[in-house]
Amino acid sequence: MRQAVLVTRSLPALRTVDADQTAAAPRWSVAGLLSVFGTRGALWLALVLIAWVNAVFTLAPVVPSAALGLAAFVVLPTWALRTKIDWPPLGEAEIWIVSLAYTLLGLLLIGLATNFGLPPLHVARPLAVLPIVTAWSLLMVGLLVWRADRTPRWSTAQRAFAAGFTAGMPRHVVVVVLLGLGISVAGAFRLNNGHSGAVAVIAALFWIALLTALLVRSGTLDAVSQGIGIYGVALGLLLMTSLRGWLLVGHDIQYEYKVFELTSNAAYWDPDRFRSAYYACLSITILPTELTHLLGVSGLVVFKVLFPVLFALVPVTLWLLCRRLVSRPLAVAAAALFVVFPTFFSDMPFLARQEVAFFFVAAVLTFLGTGATTRRVRFTHLLLLGVGVMLSHYSTNYFFLFTVGMAAAGGPVLALLGRWRQQERPLTGRRGRARPDPAARPVFRISWLLVMLAITVLWTGPITHSGSQVAVTFESLSASLFGGATSERSSDVRYSLFSGASETSAQKFARFEHDEWQRREDISNDSYLYPVSEVAQYPIELSPNETTAFTPLGRSMSTAGLDPSVINSFLRRSIALLFQLLLVVGLAGSLVSRRTLRRMNPELRTLSAASFVLIGMTVLLPSLSVNYGVLRAFQQGLVIFAPLVALGCFMVLQPLRQRAFIGVGVVTAAFALSLTGVIPQLLGGYPRQLHLNNAGQYYDIYVTHDEEAAAMEWFNTFVATPKDRLTTDKYTSSRLQNFTGVQPDFNLYPSDLPRENFVILGTTTVQTQKVTVFFEGDLFSYTYPTAFLDREKSLVYASGGARIYR
């Protein structure tokens, strides 16, 4: 007997109930096959067929193609997996998210299979449109045939859609979120078109207001509204950054896009040809190649829109996990703290491989608290999703495995402490040991860790040859630990509890200059460079950090003796320290408080502690702070320990009792107002942020301008031959690498500049004479002597935003 869909405003009840799901289903049978090709699956098969024809022959315009591809190649398999797999006891929304993770994993694996399986069959371009779309469509058919009587029903989709528009969906939240997304897009686009950041500031305020409302009303608001609200805030903040610039904008994303183009243009992924850690990440090579074919969109859309759309699900997953394992009020706070952390919206949109990998990590963590299920089932899920993390991003995988390993090693200590606390004040109210909750059994076992390590070694070693980065990191780590290395570290550690003293920019710049000249002295025959006597005529100076002028409000405050620059800096530093203090308070509280013990999943607590130790190591070991970045590490840690930070927040605000919700809302809003740049924007006196301004350090070094693209077109048309070398600064080189086959050098410093090289100056250098360098984990800018180039070289190309010298 078929049962109708039940869709209500309560999340647990959102489960789509299909009586067949619980019946013992034959896996493969003639009857099942026939039923798929009968009425039940006919519409789905027709949808897949239409989408196949459209993708292969590019019939429809972009938007309908993308909608069709999304429905047939992403939503349908996700739904089928959701209905056909026997799931452990997870929430309905969690099952959907993990199903989506399996769809992505399927894309990664089918890409790998076609990549290596078709060339022996004389298919030279296995990742071209036809093989990929055909392989994925065949997999769709296979998925529909497997457990055929659990295939989703068309009528179920119809009813769910209708219910969404009538009773089930909280329309007001949907409208609010859509409105906010529109403002986010408009804010970014207006900046891209050269207009002011006023709309972007309104967008930031909009999301902060919504987040505060979600926090304040987290005790009373229905779950679906909360989930949609959190997703909206996350996506809105991400799009404000990811949509900046009409071309590719950001740091890592430039090289990520290059390896994607290498794969996409060759329609083949060849790990033997390009032995790079980036190239080994399937999330930025095979996955975007497949998505462009299946959805009919450009690579730019995949990187700037689809990856943020996916990554915005991570805070939602965290919220769902917390609802199940910790407590409902803490869940919204944990998700809110995750999204207001500055790396989330200012850097994650530029780290596509990590956006995908974090999604897989969140999917893995979803299985926390399922200790009561069969070990084999749990192991299979964890292993498959762990493989997803590994295929997506190397560092995230190492970081995660290291965290699980440390948790396994340190877990018994915390367990002993927890057990002692339980005996002191048992949950039952009587002395003695409380009955252990089977669901709270650890899900990450040593066996899983060992298998994951073995697969990782295999993947980074013989398969992709991409393990050199790990070797370099371990070498510098051992040098840091046992001497033989300098103690340089990123200045981001100044935000840390463990920071200690850090060098000033002037000191670092002096060492940078010293290193440049030392390198010149070490060259035995330097006749290919400009004479030292010439270069020395053009001294170079460190550029001060540019801050905005005080606004009228800022001036009033300044007159009253409150310097906005000092206030902004103090707020940032205080918030960074507060994040860490709240984590410590939350961790301690979860161990000693009887109430929280009842709610906090022990394994989540152990993983949080391990993650915190790892962050501490990142700060204390200089090479890690330089190579990986403290803020990135903290953002990754927040996927695990955000609930403890939220717990710390509630514990500190406990005296407010029932008003603690309001207190947490106010605190988070204050964090967000400062970290999203709204307060600095309203007061002035602080460096500008990319998502609110057409200025600032990120704008200078990460935004690719039309003028630069036009200059590279000139270079490709009139110059580029294999013998021509092109020199520029590090960041212009990064931005322009996708416009030319000639990889630009970045030895622009006058003493290092080869005479015969072409030189291209990007928009920032042309307009402000500034060049930015990355030295020992920090960015700083100096004034470049363009007069030196004018006097020594011919200027063969010029526009308002680019110059080429020869």
């Binding site: 209708a162 528009f165 009538t166 897009v185 408009a186 686009f189 207006r190 891209n192 078109n193 050269g194 207009h195 709309v199 009409w246 010439e534 301008h705 039309d706 003028e707 036009a710 200059a711 000139w714 009139f718 110059v719 005479r755 004018d790 006097r791 020594e792 070289k793 011919s794 200027l795 063969v796 190309y797 010029a798 526009s799 308002g800 935003g801 080429i804 020869r806």
Partner: protein, 145 residues
């Protein structure tokens, strides 16, 4: 499900379409929507030599200098182009050029009375920051600006 509820999605969509339609019909509102949801042309002008080797040809009547001006403006633009050549003394020639939006114009200007011992050519879009120059020999040269 009542009739109103059944038609609610359609009513919503119709309402939104109407509002957007009205906004598009009002020029200032339409301009704001364009700025907010569509890509607008970045306005700039390219000035360049088309080769690194044979940009100048010596002839009896003078030195012929070839280059390109490419407008990326959204409106018709007029430029005063000044070509100067240094051969111990400075020789200059001016020309006014008008370009349509997106137009690329190849130009060859003859600078009279220039000896074949010239050292530097400078092409300038007067009134803008854009100029290019060519040095005949490597090493430190005098730039005509």
């Amino acid at each position: 499900m009542t009739t109103v509820r059944r038609w609610l999605p359609l009513l919503w969509l119709t309402g939104i379409a109407l509002v957007v339609g009205v906004l598009l019909a009002i020029p200032p509102a339409r301009a704001q929507l364009d700025q907010s949801f569509t890509r607008q042309q970045t306005q700039f002008t390219e000035l360049y030599f088309t080769t690194g080797e044979e940009l100048a040809v010596q002839a009896p009547e003078g030195l012929t200098v070839s280059f390109v001006v490419h407008s990326h403006d959204t409106t018709r633009s007029t430029y005063l182009v000044r070509v100067g050549v240094l051969d111990g003394r400075l020789a200059q020639v001016d020309e006014i050029v008008t370009l349509e939006p997106g137009e690329r114009r190849s130009m060859s200007l003859v600078v009279p009375q220039v000896s074949d011992r010239w050292s530097t050519i400078d092409v300038d879009l007067v009134g803008t920051a854009d100029h290019i120059h060519w040095m005949r020999t490597t090493g430190k040269q005098e730039v005509l600006r």
